[in-house]
Symmetry: C2
Subunit: 174 residues, 2 copies
C-alpha cells in the first residue's frame, strides 16, 4: 500500500492494519489517524514517535510492559502477536538450546524484577547470541537509562513494522 492509500483509510481499517506497529498498543495508531494526511512514510513514523514522546514516564513504562518476554511463555504457548512471533523466530529465539533457554529465562526474570518492565530489543536487527549478550549487559543499567533504551528499541521495531506495511518505492504520483 502506498501513502495515498494509507491516507484514504477510514479509522477502523487504519487501526486494523497499523494497530500493532507498537506492540499491543492500537490506541497509538488510532490516535495518530487524527494527524492525516501523511506526506510520506517518514511523516507517519514521526507522528507515532511524537505521540509516544509526549506520554509521561508511566506511559513509556506501560508501552514496554505490553511487550512479551523474548523466548518466553507467549512464544511457548503460541499466544504471541503475529508480528512478534515472526520477529522472534527470525532471530532464532524459537530454536534455543535448553541451556540458552534457561539462561534467557533467568535473565528475563532478573531484568523484570530489577526494572518492572520486560527487556525490549528489536529482534530483527539482532541474532540470539547478540540478544542474550545485550540482555545480560543491560541488566546492569540504571532504570532511567534502561527505560530510554527500551523506548529506542520500541521505535526501531515500529519503523520496521511500518516499512513492512507501506510501500516507499512508488514513483511520485500527482
Amino acid at each position: 500500500m502506498d501513502i495515498g492509500a494509507v491516507n484514504a483509510l477510514p479509522y477502523d481499517d487504519f487501526v486494523n492494519i497499523f494497530g500493532n506497529v507498537v506492540e499491543k498498543c492500537p490506541v497509538i495508531s488510532a490516535a495518530v489517524w487524527s494527524r492525516r494526511p501523511f506526506a510520506n512514510l517518514a511523516a507517519l513514523e514521526a507522528a507515532v514517535s511524537d505521540f509516544i514522546d509526549a506520554l509521561p514516564e508511566s506511559g513509556h513504562e506501560g508501552i514496554l510492559r505490553c511487550h512479551p518476554d523474548l523466548a518466553g511463555r507467549d512464544l511457548q504457548s503460541g499466544t504471541l502477536t503475529r508480528e512478534s512471533r515472526d520477529e522472534q523466530a527470525g532471530a532464532g529465539l524459537d530454536a534455543l538450546s535448553s541451556a540458552e533457554a534457561r539462561t534467557m529465562g533467568r535473565l528475563n526474570d532478573e531484568y523484570k524484577r530489577r526494572f518492572g518492565f520486560p527487556f525490549v530489543i528489536c529482534a530483527r536487527l539482532n541474532d540470539k547470541e547478540n540478544i542474550l549478550r545485550q540482555l545480560s549487559e543491560r541488566c546492569a543499567n540504571e532504570p532511567a537509562e534502561e527505560r530510554a533504551r527500551g523506548m529506542e528499541e520500541v521505535k526501531k521495531i515500529c519503523r520496521l513494522r511500518l516499512q513492512g506495511l507501506v510501500r516507499t518505492d512508488a514513483p511520485n504520483k500527482l
Copy 2:
C-alpha cells in the same frame, strides 16, 4: 480480589487482569501499575482517569476508536472482547429486530462519518431503546462536545469493569 492482592500483582498479571478496563487499551493499565500501591479501588480508578486526562486530544480520539460499534460487525462475527460482548448482550444489543439493526447500522455509520470515532456509551447503564435514542440525538452534537461525552462514557465503562474485578466490601485490614 481485594486491593491488597491487586497491589501485590507483578505487572504481567496486573495487565492480564486489568488490561481491558479501558477497551483494547492495555497500555493504560500497564502504565498505571507504576502508581502502586493503591489505597483502595477509588485510587486505582483515579489513577486510570488521571492517565487518560493527561493524554492529548488525539489520544482521547484514539481511545474512542479502540471501541467497537454497538451491535456492529464484531458482535456479528464473535470478535468482541469478552467484556464488550457481555455488556452489549446485557443491553439487548445481540437481539435487535431487523428494523432496529438497520437503524443502528445507519446511525453508527452516520456518527462515525461525522466524528471520525465510534459512538461510545456505557451499555450496562442503558437498554437498547435508550441507546438508539441517544445515538440518534448525539449525532447532532458538535465534535468537541461529543469527544468529551464519549470520554465520560469510557470512564463509566471502566468504573464498572473495575468494580467487577476488585472487591470493595472487605472489612478494613491492618
